[in-house]
């Protein structure tokens, strides 16, 4: 599903998270990169350098917005001031889709700035789906929800995480940003089969995939985004794109960030798996001669 209604019928290739340590390199050298994902909140400001930098990036590159504070799963209603700022940014970036997490992180207007796990219940799924629809209607852009990594589960849960994800996205009729690293991390922390997770989600709704590195501790794994992607995550990625099709893929690297070239090289490792997935999915005869943007990355935009 390279292009579908959940990613605005785009066919984006391998992208990178836009991070401050790389600004200068990107603006001066204009390196090849198929697209950048921005953290919406970093640019939901009223002026100054962040928006100045963003405008320069937008002149050269395709940008997709990824949020960290919409908290679709919070009991609170969407905050109007937040939505207003977000919509202004959506208009600025012309993002073809917008993603945020399937989680909660605030209640009664107090924010944790964390991605807290949901109780996997039908009532929570209904409430969350309703909120996603409200946000989509206001922003007028396709919405994708991302599965988070988690370290705790609630007694009240009535289903698995992937069943909950499926329940929410079907009810909201929205897309999925499938984070395969988060699946792997949560699978280790909660002792489930990560492949069962991937197989259990409606893959026709996957609009984007995240890959990232994590850190192993004695009793659990933490989603740290400060390492290269580990082999089991790449294998899960390969499995996901065999099912979902070759999908816009983004590497997240948020801490101990190395040079742009190093991060980009890590992201481009996805190409090995994409080639494998294409070969596995296409019939041997009459395979269409499809040229992907991924195979021929454009300079700048």
């Amino acid at each position: 599903m390279p292009a579908n209604r959940f990613n605005g019928f785009t066919d984006y290739g391998i992208g990178l998270g836009l991070r401050v340590p790389h600004y200068q390199h990107i603006l001066e050298k204009k390196p090849t990169c198929d697209w950048f994902e921005i953290i919406s909140e970093n640019f939901m400001v009223d002026g100054g350098r962040p928006l100045h930098v963003l405008d320069q990036i937008l002149e050269q590159y395709r940008v997709v917005q990824h949020g960290v504070s919409m908290y679709f799963g919070s009991a609170d209603k969407p905050d109007r001031a937040h939505l207003k700022k977000l919509k202004a940014l959506v208009k600025r970036t012309k993002t073809p889709w917008l993603s945020d997490h399937l989680c909660w992180g605030s209640v009664d207007g107090t924010y944790t700035h964390d991605l807290l796990p949901m109780p996997y219940t039908f009532s929570a799924a209904r409430r969350t789906a309703e909120k996603i629809k409200q946000v989509r209607d206001y922003l007028e852009v396709p919405i994708c929800v991302e599965n988070v990594s988690s370290y705790a589960e609630f007694h009240v849960s009535e289903m698995t995480e992937w069943e909950f994800l499926a329940e929410v996205v079907e009810r909201a009729d929205c897309g999925i940003l499938l984070d395969v690293n988060n699946i792997y991390v949560s699978a280790q922390n909660h002792s489930f089969d990560p492949y069962a997770y991937v197989n259990g989600v409606p893959l026709d709704r996957v609009a984007q995939i995240h890959v990232a590195g994590h850190t192993k501790f004695e009793k659990y794994i933490l989603d740290t985004h400060d390492h290269p992607v580990l082999d089991p995550v790449w294998k899960l990625y390969a499995h996901a794109i065999r099912g979902a099709g070759v999908t816009a893929t983004l590497l997240e690297w948020d801490d101990k960030i190395p040079s742009f070239d190093e991060v980009h090289a890590e992201a481009l490792k996805a190409n090995e798996f994409i080639a494998g997935a294409r070969a596995a999915r296409l019939p041997k005869s009459n395979a269409p001669a499809r040229t992907s943007r991924r195979a021929v990355p454009t300079v700048g935009r």
Partner: protein, 306 residues
């Protein structure tokens, strides 16, 4: 210390989530556990607000697994919450950190966040009430509360100047034929006017330069930068100064102005007419001086249409 804005959690965690109210109750329960200050060893607090063991409360709503208890699983989130927020205030406050030292600064920030958890979707606003908190609770910064307050105000003004709103800049044409008694100007929202008893601008700048040297020295071969990098920045000596924290072409600046100019800017920012602003500058100020100030401020784009 009661956290501002938090609503009370239920006495017991809901056993089923049938309604939106149940979801809110569960989320309030977890929120209260997270925002409770960590112990001195950075562990989750051992006791819930009603005196019950936190382990018992955590087990009410969080499942254990074969490796971690419910308490330990909740603790992962609690630590993550506190470390993330402390880091954020730490980055916003190099001057305050240098003044208090790392340990006292850490105690101050934890007390601050315990009283004022984040009420904004963005971490950008997290330090916005720190100066207010320092004034409200001087015990964390004594005997240097007044200086700490001045530094906190100055450091927050930098956040505002960095990405605050810029309105369309007033041009000479906009002034038109409006007489000074009727002309009211607005200062750009990203500008802060700070009158203080200490040269906090010099102090914070010196701290930042030292910290930059420290960062360089970590890779340096010769010894000289290390010596400079480890030097304690001397505390500022009392001296009344007037600072305008602003930005120009997307770069942050602090501009000192004279007292009469500051009074004039304050009057204009308060919505007084230009004539009133000039009068506020004082009788000794010459018209030529006012013209020079005004020309500079216009050039820097400080004024917006009201």
């Amino acid at each position: 210390m009661k956290a501002v804005g938090l609503k009370s959690p239920p006495r017991r965690a809901p056993k089923k989530l049938a309604t939106d109210a149940d979801l809110r109750a569960l989320q309030r329960m977890m929120m209260h556990a997270l925002v409770q200050p960590l112990t001195a060893d950075d562990d989750l607090a051992p006791t819930w607000r009603d005196g019950r063991p936190m382990a018992e409360v955590a087990a009410e709503f969080i499942k254990p697994n074969e490796r971690l208890t419910a308490f330990e699983r909740l603790q992962i989130y609690s630590r993550s919450y506190w470390f993330r927020l402390i880091d954020c205030v730490y980055d916003d406050s190099p001057g305050l950190r240098a003044l208090l030292g790392e340990e006292r600064f850490g105690v101050l920030v934890r007390a601050y966040l315990a009283k004022y958890p984040s009420r904004s979707f963005t971490l950008r606003n997290l330090s916005g009430r720190l100066a207010q908190f320092i004034r409200e609770e001087p015990r964390w910064t004594q005997p240097r509360t007044a200086l700490a307050h001045a530094i906190a105000r100055f450091e927050w003004a930098q956040t505002v100047a960095f990405d605050g709103e810029a309105r369309p800049v007033l041009t000479p044409d906009d002034l038109g034929g409006t007489p000074p008694t009727k002309l009211r100007l607005a200062l750009q929202p990203y500008i802060s006017l700070i009158a203080t008893e200490w040269p906090v601008d010099d102090y914070v700048l010196a701290v930042k330069q030292r910290d930059a040297l420290r960062s360089e020295a970590s890779n340096a071969v010769d010894r000289a930068p290390r010596v400079a990098a480890n030097k304690k920045v001397p505390l500022p000596r009392r001296a009344k100064i007037y600072i305008v924290v602003h930005r120009y072409q997307h770069t942050l600046y602090y501009k000192r102005v004279e007292a009469p100019a500051f009074r004039m800017l304050e009057a204009l920012a308060a919505g007084k007419s230009l004539a009133h602003g000039v009068a506020a500058a004082g009788p000794r100020v010459k018209a030529e001086q006012v013209r020079d100030w005004f020309a500079t401020w216009m050039e820097l784009g400080w004024f917006a249409r009201r």
